[in-house]
């Protein structure tokens, strides 16, 4: 059996022409799917032409027994997940679908992961291979559809979370997992620091802990796995059992950031949503008295605040983590602040050299990650 043709030849031709043209003209391209993550990352040059991935949609290959799916970049995440669900499988890293939208290309280019990330792994952990168009518009294929592959450098993981600055993702092969047979959510009334301590203690025991979220004095703990394991963990942990429909809605809402807390508005121009990624045992941030949501057993802290970037970055860095200006209230604020924490100088030098080597003409998403990259 020969695999189906992975590419839509018309879209590939048009995209290749745009890449080559951008290289000649010295202007950049802004790669875009549904635009659900337009708010995320630094602003690209407004003169950059938009290269749309939407026409290149569809699942190319899916065999549930292989735990692998290959999807084109323009495939809506929800479409992919509906297909997987028919075989009782899922994307275990819970990729966010902001506003219910998002495509496979954007999902991998941003590398964002949702609540289950603490137990299942991040987007990058599920990427097995991809095809990219490089700065010469050549189709390069890295990795493949097998679980283990150490031939050559892991280019597909390098492109994951690279914000599209190294090339155009054409299709991606992803490892998928079975939907756990049992799922329960417990609620505990507890303060933030205790929630962090408890979550870390539980994560060190053989419990089917899938996700945690603390907000407003309540810790929600999601248990997923074999029915027997979930049942015994419920007995062990105590707490109050959340009605299943309510629990499902809660985790989906968290994953897609539907709560009002995650939104910002130009009506409150100084109030931004920050993402603080820190070691899970980092003490609760008490210096700033604004609302916080804690996920990933304490490793992910969301805070909506007017506090200065420098203060948040200093706190995160002191604890071995980093801070991202996830949603800026205004484009001005996004343009003025660095969205992502800049790596130390020797590491930044490697970033710059890699960009120079792989996209020396700065064709792909110029500036979306760091200025000059």
């Amino acid at each position: 059996m020969s695999p189906p043709v992975p590419f839509d030849p018309d879209w590939i031709r048009q995209s290749s022409e745009m890449i080559l043209e951008a290289g000649r003209a010295g202007c950049g391209l802004k790669i875009r799917g549904e635009g659900s993550k337009d708010f995320y990352g630094s602003m690209t040059n407004p003169e950059a032409r938009v290269l749309t991935t939407l026409p290149h949609a569809g699942v190319v290959d899916y065999d549930p027994a292989e735990l692998v799916v290959v999807a084109r970049c323009g495939t809506p995440i929800q479409e992919l997940e509906s297909l997987l669900a028919k075989s009782r499988q899922m994307l275990a890293f819970d990729p966010p679908r902001f506003g219910g939208r998002g495509t496979v290309g954007g999902m991998i280019a941003t590398g964002l992961s949702g609540p289950r990330r603490m137990s299942s792994g991040a987007a990058k952990d599920f990427v097995l291979g991809m095809t990219v168009l490089d700065a010469q518009a050549q189709a390069l294929r890295f990795g493949g559809t097998v679980m283990k592959n150490v031939a050559g450098y892991d280019m597909s993981r390098l492109h994951t979370g690279a914000m599209g600055v190294l090339g155009l993702i054409v299709d991606v092969s992803l490892k998928v997992l079975p939907i756990p047979p049992a799922d329960s959510t417990l609620i505990f009334e507890v303060g933030a620091q205790d929630a962090i301590d408890w979550a870390n203690a539980w994560a060190g025991q053989p419990l089917p802990l899938a996700a945690t979220c603390w907000q407003a004095g309540r810790l929600r703990v999601r248990l997923s796995g074999a029915a027997a394991a979930v049942r015994s963990a419920r007995e062990k942990l105590g707490g109050e059992l959340m009605p299943q429909a309510q629990a499902d809605a809660f985790w989906q809402g968290l994953r897609d950031q539907q709560d009002e807390f995650f939104s910002v508005s130009s009506a409150a121009p100084g109030l931004h949503l920050w993402r603080l990624s820190v070691p899970s045992t980092t003490p609760h941030l008490t210096e700033i008295n604004d609302e916080q949501w804690l996920e990933w057993g304490g490793a992910l802290r969301w805070i909506k605040t007017q506090a200065p970037a420098a203060q948040l970055r200093a706190w995160a860095s002191r604890h071995g983590g980093h801070a991202t200006l996830f949603r800026a209230a205004t484009d001005d604020a996004r343009q003025q602040a660095d969205v992502f924490t800049e790596p130390a100088a020797p590491l930044m030098k490697i970033h710059q050299r890699l960009k120079q080597e792989l996209d020396g003409q700065c064709i792909f998403n110029p500036g979306r990650m760091y200025a000059g990259l």
Partner: protein, 535 residues
């Protein structure tokens, strides 16, 4: 090549650049970027270091290290002439044994200044020649950077130096009920630095992942002597994911000086099912059926009849010698969870045509069932003079077909092959048996191996699942990757190591090397001097 191979061949590899003078590259218009490959200076790594350069190097090293940590005599250098790929041997110029990161920094700065190739080395158990020395270069042994810096039971992490043995991490974490999941078969000897370099797997990686899934942070030194940190002790780090890029990069991008690994809770219980099949294709389908039923076993291994017979004689594990293939299928977790899962697994295996099922009743019995699998390589070493271990990966659905193809190749090459598979991952370890003392047999074994790897690529898989490319599979890389893809790999290499001094000539073949391999390939079986080792 497996650890049991006793054939020793002088390196005649990679001398195609002598055959194809450098000028050829300069006239190749369609490969402009390879012109900038710093590595080409060292493409022939059989060339010794000029005596004056070596003297200057040793002199400068004495400012960095105590004299006893610099090895220069033939006698002292001999143990470093090969890694686990014992068929490829070559003496290095100098070996250094730093004990501190600051010394690593100074050694790399010196190598950079004097233009000396550097091959980093851990325990030397690698199976693909990743640590084979450069005749004109330095072996940078990290074996003495071997302390466990700290264990944080609350955060479930361990900070370790690269020379720490894989199993030592789990031993140190055991008092907290935690362990480090990746378990390559060599785990009692191999070091975490080498695991990082090769992205090592093991028998439990279907459920628990490879090295790349279990490492949070790497501290490393660049060839320019700068200290860098990839990843972090948070779950992500800003910028490009260089952590994942460095893992599995075979010592070609930077030198690791510290690793933070994830520790996970030890399962309360593990039990394994041993299932017999009267036909190898059926066992392949059973693997696919387990996965399709939504089961992710903690371990899922397959052995063919030749392999079970060889190991049974060696370890007396109680294997079914009449079975054409056996599967070992493990479940771990809480006692309730294991009972539930074992029940589901047994049902699927029976429905898939298993002729016999045995479930381990005690930990002792579980370890006995596994002992055969873990001793597959030594067992092969007992029944054959030499063996050649392959490491391709294919989609699980192709396992049965692949086994049939290998059986045909046994006839074609006149050599026997025993098969052990990490079936859950589709990762094959065919062991090709040969006798190096018989003229031409090693060459036949290499051709046999190359054909297996080509079949893996044809089935949509890869030439190496967990052992790495190193020197051994460098030609097979030409089959798996296009020239453009290999140029992209070299671009990444330059991003980290523009001078091309870190482990040059390994893992990624140059365009000319592939052109040369293509020519050999066409004429396979009709080479002018078949007894000469080629690559």
């Amino acid at each position: 090549m497996g650890i049991g191979a006793r054939v020793a061949l002088e390196l005649k590899h990679s001398n195609e650049h002598q055959l194809l003078p450098f000028a050829v590259f300069r006239t190749k218009m369609n490969a402009p970027r390879e012109l900038h490959l710093g590595e080409l200076r060292f493409a022939d790594f059989t060339q010794p270091m000029p005596a004056s350069k070596r003297a200057a190097l040793i002199q400068s090293l004495r400012d960095i290290l105590p004299a006893q940590d610099i090895l220069t005599t033939d006698e002292a250098l001999r143990p470093y002439e090969c890694d686990g790929l014992a068929g490829y041997r070559q003496m290095p110029s100098v070996v250094v044994l730093p004990t501190q990161e600051s010394q690593v920094v100074e050694i790399l700065k010196l190598a950079h200044r004097l233009d000396v190739p550097v091959v980093a080395r851990g325990a030397g158990t690698g199976l693909s020649g990743g640590a084979t020395p450069h005749r004109g270069g330095l072996i940078l042994s990290l074996a003495r950077l071997n302390t466990i810096v700290s264990i944080d039971p609350a955060a479930r992490t361990a900070r370790v130096r690269p020379g720490v043995r894989n199993a030592a991490i789990s031993d140190a974490a055991a008092p907290y009920g935690l362990y480090y999941a990746p378990d390559p078969s060599s785990q009692i000897a191999c070091s975490i630095g080498g695991n990082v370099a090769e992205n090592s797997g093991g028998v439990h990686c279907l459920k628990y992942g490879l090295t790349v899934h279990n490492v949070l942070r790497i501290r490393a030194v660049t060839i320019e002597g700068e200290i860098v940190e990839f990843g972090s002790e948070a779950l992500d780090a800003p910028g490009l994911d260089l952590l994942s890029l460095v893992i599995g990069s075979e010592g070609m991008l930077s030198v690791v000086t510290e690793v933070t690994v994830k520790l996970i809770p030890k399962p309360q219980l593990a039990r394994v099912i041993m299932a017999s099949f009267d036909n190898v294709e059926k066992s392949g389908h059973a693997v696919a059926n387990l996965i399709a039923a939504g089961i992710i076993p903690a371990g899922l291994e397959m052995m063919d009849q030749k392999m079970t017979r060889a190991v049974e004689e060696f370890v007396h594990a109680g294997y079914d010698l009449q079975a054409k293939a056996i599967l070992l299928c493990e479940s771990d977790g809480t006692p309730e969870e294991v009972e539930e899962e074992i029940g589901r697994m047994k049902a699927v295996l029976s429905d898939s045509g298993a002729t016999d099922l045995k479930v381990s009743e005690t930990e002792e019995q579980r370890l006995r069932f596994w002992s055969g699998r873990k001793n597959a390589f030594p067992a092969a070493g007992r029944v054959a003079a030499d063996y050649y271990c392959m490491d391709g990966t294919i989609p699980r659905a192709k396992l049965g077909e692949m086994l049939n193809r290998i059986a045909e190749m046994e006839v074609k090459y006149g050599l026997a092959c025993m098969n052990v598979f990490h079936a859950g991952d589709g990762n094959l370890h065919p062991l090709i048996l040969f006798d190096a003392s018989k003229p031409g047999e090693f060459h036949q074994a290499e051709l046999f191996g190359a054909e297996i790897l080509e079949s893996c690529v044809e089935y949509g898989g890869t030439v190496t699942g967990e052992h790495g490319v190193g020197l051994e599979k460098i030609n097979s890389m030409c089959v798996q990757f296009s020239p453009q893809e290999r140029i992209a790999f070299f671009a990444v290499k330059r991003g980290f190591d523009p001078a091309g001094l870190l482990n040059p000539g390994k893992a990624i073949p140059t365009l000319s090397r592939c052109a040369e391999y293509g020519k050999m390939h066409v004429h396979r079986g009709a080479l002018k001097f078949p007894e000469l080792p080629r690559f």
